[in-house]
Structure formats: structure tokens, C-alpha cells
Symmetry: C2
Subunit: 168 residues, 2 copies
Amino acid sequence: MSISMHSASAPVFMRMLGNLTQWLDKAEAHATARKFSPEVLLAARLAPDMLPLSKQVQIACDTAKFCLARLAGVEAPKFDDTEATLDELRGRVRTTVAFVQSVPAAQVDGSEEREITVPRRAGPLLLKGEVYVKNYALPNFFFHVTTTYALLRHNGVELGKSDYLGAF
Amino acid sequence: MSISMHSASAPVFMRMLGNLTQWLDKAEAHATARKFSPEVLLAARLAPDMLPLSKQVQIACDTAKFCLARLAGVEAPKFDDTEATLDELRGRVRTTVAFVQSVPAAQVDGSEEREITVPRRAGPLLLKGEVYVKNYALPNFFFHVTTTYALLRHNGVELGKSDYLGAF
């Protein structure tokens, strides 16, 4: 009983996006307690040429969304990247989780050798399904999720490793 | 042909640790060009109560090391966490990769249902092998690898997403 393509991707994304939603809740509570607008956090960056928090959440969501869509060979829903509040970002996460959940496991399983095309600025990247999940989708997803966490910690939100990993 | 326990873990760790080594090379070049001691970077933190870069690299290494050791049921080599230079951190990464590489795939495969014990401050965490890899080891590994990257970017080292993901 080895790990199926669906089980290596969808539940991992859903679990971490659930954790991330709780960080956004804590970010909101922190802003309220400190009397600053929570929207300030959406513009926070770790470096001037790194993307702000709102974009980190959007890309984490899109990485999960496109991973399932590409593995299953279905169209991914289009999101407009207009989220301007923590609540709208939580909505983006919910819509993403709903889509990930809607893709049948049976349509994803068996996609180890499927040719996946990832559009990139330098030209499309062609990868086999298994390589795509392990070396592109998961690392990219965790990059944006962790950067979101790091941005909140850098800005004083009280989070710890157990918030990151979630409950067991 | 689904994903084996070894293939879901060891090659992912080795690939990302290889990428991380190159970030440390760029960090060294950056420090030299800007005429500051590269060791300054080892003490960098994103928040006063977050661990410094040296510790982020050590924990990324240990997460990979313990994951393979626990799945295979072998003793993990003990490292003393004494690295004080970028070069010593690169050495730590090399030693870790050598250990990960030394664990036979056949000893790791089939560990989906194996009972894994993760020592934690709050008491040991008991997880099945597959849950351990997907919800603990990989998220924790990517946390410390991404935080290392974020610390370097925050301190002006010129890195981009392609340095993070590595070559395809």
C-alpha cells in the first residue's frame, strides 16, 4: 500500500490551508489588540523585491488548485486576485479547498507518468506527474505557506510550530 | 506504480538540501562583495523569538536525517550543532545527504503503517509512517528550508524562485 498521487497532494494541501486560515484568524486578533488595521499585514514583505503576504496566500492557493487540476486533467477555476482583507483571503482559501476537495481521487490517481505542463516566464516546463508533485507543487506550496507564516511572525503575530504543523 | 515511501522522502530532501547549499554559496559571495563577515548571517533571525539561520539549517538537516532513520528503523547519526561558519553548515548538509543516501530504499519502502515516535516537548507523538512523512517530516523540512531562504533574502542575498526550486 504505497502513497497514491491524490493522497500525496490533496490532503496535504487541505491540511496546511486549514492551518493557514487559523494563522490569519490570529493575525486579525493581533491587529485588533494592537489597534492597527489588519490590512497592513496584507502588504507586508520580507524584502522589497519579495511578494507581499496577500500574494503569498494567493499563490499557495493557486499552487494547490493547479496541482489537482493538472493531475486530473480538468480546468482550474479562475480567481481574480482581488483579495484586499484578511476575510477575503480566508474566502480565497475556502474556495480553493472546496475545489481541491471536488476533484475525485480516482481521476488523480495513476497520474504518475502523465505529462504536466507548467507555464513559466522562461517558457513552459514539462514534467511527469510524480516529479511535478514532489519537486514542483509541494515545494512551491510550502514555500508560500511558510513565507506567509514568516511574515506574520516577523510582524509580531504570536504563532508557534504547533500552529504551523497543526493538530495531530 | 504509485509513490513509495523512500521516493516520497529521500530524493525530495536531497534535492532541496542541494539547492540550499547553493544559497549558502551565494550568501558567502554576497557577504564578501559587501565586505561583511558571512558569519553575521548565521545569527540572523526573522523575529527575536524565532531561531537563527544556523539553527534553521541544522533542523532542516535533522528533519531529513530522522525521517529516514525512523522509517528504516535504524539509528540516526548524532550531530553536535556546533557549526559556526557557512562552510561548516555546508559540511553539515553534506554529512546529512550522505546519511540519507546511505539508507537503503528497500528498508524504507513498506513503512506506511510503521509506528513512528517523534519526541516532542509536550510528550512523544505517535504517527503511522505515511502520516509522519506527509504531515510532519515534509512540512517541517520545508519550513526550515524556506525560512533559511527567507532569512537570506531578508538580508539582501540575491536569490530567486529558481534558486529555491532548483534546476529541472
